[in-house]
């Protein structure tokens, strides 16, 4: 690959919004270099030897945390996981107190997930190390969008000009927001499909086409991205019942027949089978790339770690960090 990690100027990775097409392409190029390596028996490198990475998760996560942990370890870094249940947050410490405490331990990078939108950006302004947003509220989940983009790019050879439908619980989805920003930036066309109750106000200001009918919205699309119905974020009733939601918005073969015959099926996981996606579709080995997404996730996170760490090579560890995505 022609792109070297140090040529990408990123201090933190807080979101996709504001990243240039060149930066996104370069991140994907670096990610590509790790895919083959991850398939070898010996997966370990020493690129991040001596570097400390803390996965600070204020929200439950299995796959994202595991993916970041593997990424850090395969690059030779020291990875520590902190879950809310094990931290002082339960004892009443504030987000910034926790940040300052960890900062005093001189980590090199924090991966932060938090249930509140904007929390990761706030935290990034208070610490000296690099910060990766592992998902904040319903705001952004940048590494998910990058791994989705990598999956699509490897299957289709490009992102430009593709028609992508993001379906389901748009309202609560940080995955949807990050994907909208990324796909728009790379010249893909984005549709969002979901019930009006799960559609954020003014979502069309993000440049997407809005549909409330799956069959209409899926017509002619190249990529179908399903979202998880995030019942844990719903305070109040957004859908009448699960069977009704599945009937109108669950992806089954009948609705999928409106998309292009070779349309890819994606899902960020974890899937609710029989809620937003039918098992037959999820397990369609010809079109479902759901497991490939997981594989790409590790490669993308390795690339993000490498890029952010390469920026810090010649920096005294006490320098004050600035906010901002790029």
């Amino acid at each position: 690959m022609s792109t070297s990690a140090s040529s990408i100027k990123l201090r933190h990775l807080l979101g996709i919004e504001g990243l240039s097409p060149e930066t996104i392409s370069a991140l994907l190029d670096v990610s590509e270099t790790y895919i083959e390596q991850n398939r070898q028996i010996d997966k370990k490198q020493s690129l991040l030897r001596g570097r400390t990475i803390i996965n600070l998760f204020f929200e439950n996560s299995t796959r994202t945390r595991t993916s970041f942990e593997l990424a850090g370890k395969r690059l030779g870094g020291d990875v520590i996981n902190m879950q809310t249940s094990a931290s002082s947050v339960k004892k009443g410490e504030t987000l910034l107190d926790t940040a300052m405490t960890l900062n005093a331990m001189h980590p090199d990078l924090l991966v932060v997930r938090h249930p509140d939108s904007g929390a990761v950006q706030l935290l990034s302004q208070k610490v000296n190390c690099a910060v990766i947003n592992g998902g904040d509220g319903s705001h952004e989940h940048p590494t998910q969008a990058l791994l989705d983009a990598l999956t699509i790019r490897r299957r289709r050879g490009k992102l430009q000009g593709l028609l992508v439908a993001i379906c389901g619980d748009i309202l609560h989805s940080r995955v949807a927001r990050s994907n909208i920003h990324l796909l728009n930036t790379m010249g893909a066309r984005v549709r969002v499909i979901g019930p009006p109750t799960l559609m954020p106000a003014e979502i069309d200001r993000l440049g997407v086409e809005v549909f409330t009918d799956m069959r209409k919205g899926l017509t002619g699309v190249d990529i179908v991205m399903m979202l998880r119905l995030q019942t844990e974020r719903m305070h109040g009733s957004y859908v009448p019942s699960i069977p009704e939601y599945f009937r109108f918005f669950g992806l089954d073969n009948e609705k999928l027949s409106f998309a292009k015959p070779d349309a890819l099926i994606m899902h960020p996981g974890p899937m609710n089978r029989g809620v937003e996606i039918d098992s037959e579709v999820a397990d369609d080995i010809g079109r479902s790339v759901i497991h490939e997404q997981v594989e790409m996730g590790v490669a993308v996170r390795m690339a993000c770690l490498e890029v952010l760490m390469s920026q810090r090579r010649n920096e005294p560890s006490g320098s004050v960090a600035e906010g901002g995505g790029e």
């Binding site: 097409p21 430009q160 909208i180 728009n184 010249g187 200001r205 993000l206 440049g207």
Partner: protein, 449 residues
């Protein structure tokens, strides 16, 4: 005897508030002083108008004349010359010049430049922006000011107001009807990468700046205006959807559409004209054009403005999307719309409503907008029967082109009369520039004691 006139228009069919009347019009000291039979009455000058229709002077409420700063595209002299050659007697000029028209000094500079060089009467908009928001109540009352113009999209630098907070502050700190370019900047920014795809042409322009971009901004504007109890003027409405929405907000929102959007349609116009058809908001497909005509028929549209926005052919020849948006229009507004009158798409009375009375009503223009005693003697004389070909060589604009080059129309302006001065007759300029500032009820100069 005292019953002498400076000018009498004899034998024309005059469109007055009563309808069409075959009467003579007597003019003295720039005003209309007699309507009726003036047989045997003397006048310094007589214009025989038999076979012609005498309309209240056409007022184009949206032109960009580029001065100061971009005089290679247009200036106040060439722009107003095109206006009178096209039968237009008054123009409202837009603030996106260099510098933008944002301060008293910027405004007075334009007034100074127009004096003695403008062929028709004129008013200038003041730009509404974050930097002058606290001054707007005073600025919009400067004599010669047609009000505040805000760009929610399609502009750059200090003139762009993409956010609701600044827009609301502008609404709060001004009083007169505010003219707004409604396109949602956020949505357009998000969609802009599609214009950089390989092989892209101007055909993608209405897809990038799509109907939803226009509707979103219009809805945001109307919502804020209603909260503030303010009247707003939605410039160049281009979508069927906005017409449906604005129909339910006519108590506070007035509506402009343009001859281009009523005449051209995608994809044909982009096939034929390429980037020459590129303007903001874009020319859309026939469905939206039909929606605009519906708005004209049903009375939702208040005025026709040309959005005359000249760029040189050299600039327009740049590959899309580097080509600038905008086309000429002030000189072709009357012939194009008269052709639509002849095709039965609107009546001559509706044309007068859209091009003269409507502007006077919306903007409280003093002494213009109808043929009635005491009003300014501004007339657009038209021959509804003549068949003419619009050609680039007829265009006075420095840009030197029109999207209608080669088009044959029925109906043509044959004379332009401004406050009693005949300035154009049979496509010839027959006077010197005598334009004066348009007066508004909100900007009437106070008599010094």
């Amino acid at each position: 005897m005292s019953e002498s006139y400076d000018l009498i228009l004899r034998g024309g069919i005059v469109v007055t508030p009563n309808g069409r009347e075959e009467i003579d019009v007597g003019v003295r000291a720039g005003r209309i002083v007699a309507l009726g039979s003036l047989a045997g009455v003397a006048a310094k000058e007589t214009l025989f108008a038999s076979g012609l229709h005498v309309l209240p002077g056409v007022i184009d409420t949206q032109v960009h004349f580029r001065e100061p700063g971009l005089e290679y595209k247009e200036d106040l002299e060439s722009g107003t010359r095109g206006a009178v050659l096209g039968g237009v007697t008054g123009v409202f000029e837009m603030p996106n010049t260099k510098p933008s028209t944002l301060t008293t000094e910027d405004f007075e500079e334009k007034m100074r430049r127009a004096k003695g060089r403008a062929w028709c009467d004129y008013a200038f908009y003041i730009g509404g922006a974050a930097e002058n928001v606290m001054e707007l109540a005073r600025l919009e009352r400067l004599p010669g000011c047609s009000g505040v113009k805000v760009f929610m999209g399609a502009s750059t630098g200090t003139l762009l107001v993409p956010d609701d907070a600044t827009l609301d502050a502008i609404l709060k700190n001004s009083y007169r009807r505010m003219a707004v370019h409604c396109e949602d900047e956020d949505r357009m920014n998000a969609r802009k990468p599609m214009t950089r795809l390989p092989g892209v042409t101007a055909h993608v322009h209405p897809e990038w700046r799509d109907a939803q971009s226009a509707l979103l901004a219009t809805q945001r504007l109307v919502k804020l205006a209603r909260n503030r109890g303010r009247r707003v003027h939605v410039l160049h409405v281009t979508t069927a959807d906005e017409m449906v929405f604005l129909r339910d907000h006519k108590d506070i929102a007035s509506v402009e559409t343009t001859p281009q959007h009523l005449t051209l349609a995608a994809p044909e116009c982009y096939d034929r004209l390429g980037t020459l058809a590129q303007m903001n908001p874009p020319i859309r497909d026939a469905h939206h054009r039909d929606g605009l005509w519906h708005g004209v028929r049903e009375g939702i549209v208040d005025v026709i403005g040309s959005d005359h926005a000249p760029h040189t052919l050299e600039e327009k020849a740049k590959p899309y999307p580097d080509s600038p948006s905008g086309m000429t229009g002030v000189q072709t507004l009357v012939p194009i719309m008269l052709d639509h009158v002849n095709a039965g798409r609107l009546t001559l009375e509706r044309f007068v409503d859209l091009t003269s009375a409507g502007a006077a009503r919306l903007f409280n223009i003093a002494g213009k907008g109808r043929i009635a005693l005491g009003y300014d003697a501004d007339f657009t004389l038209v021959d509804l029967k003549t068949r003419r070909r619009i050609e680039n060589k007829w265009i006075a604009s420095k840009a030197g082109w029109t999207p209608y080059d080669g088009m044959t129309v029925i109906g043509w302006p044959t004379a332009t009369i401004i406050r009693g001065h005949i300035v154009m007759r049979d496509d010839q300029l027959v006077a010197t520039p005598q334009g004066a500032p348009i007066r508004f009820q909100e900007t009437m100069p106070k008599e010094e004691a």
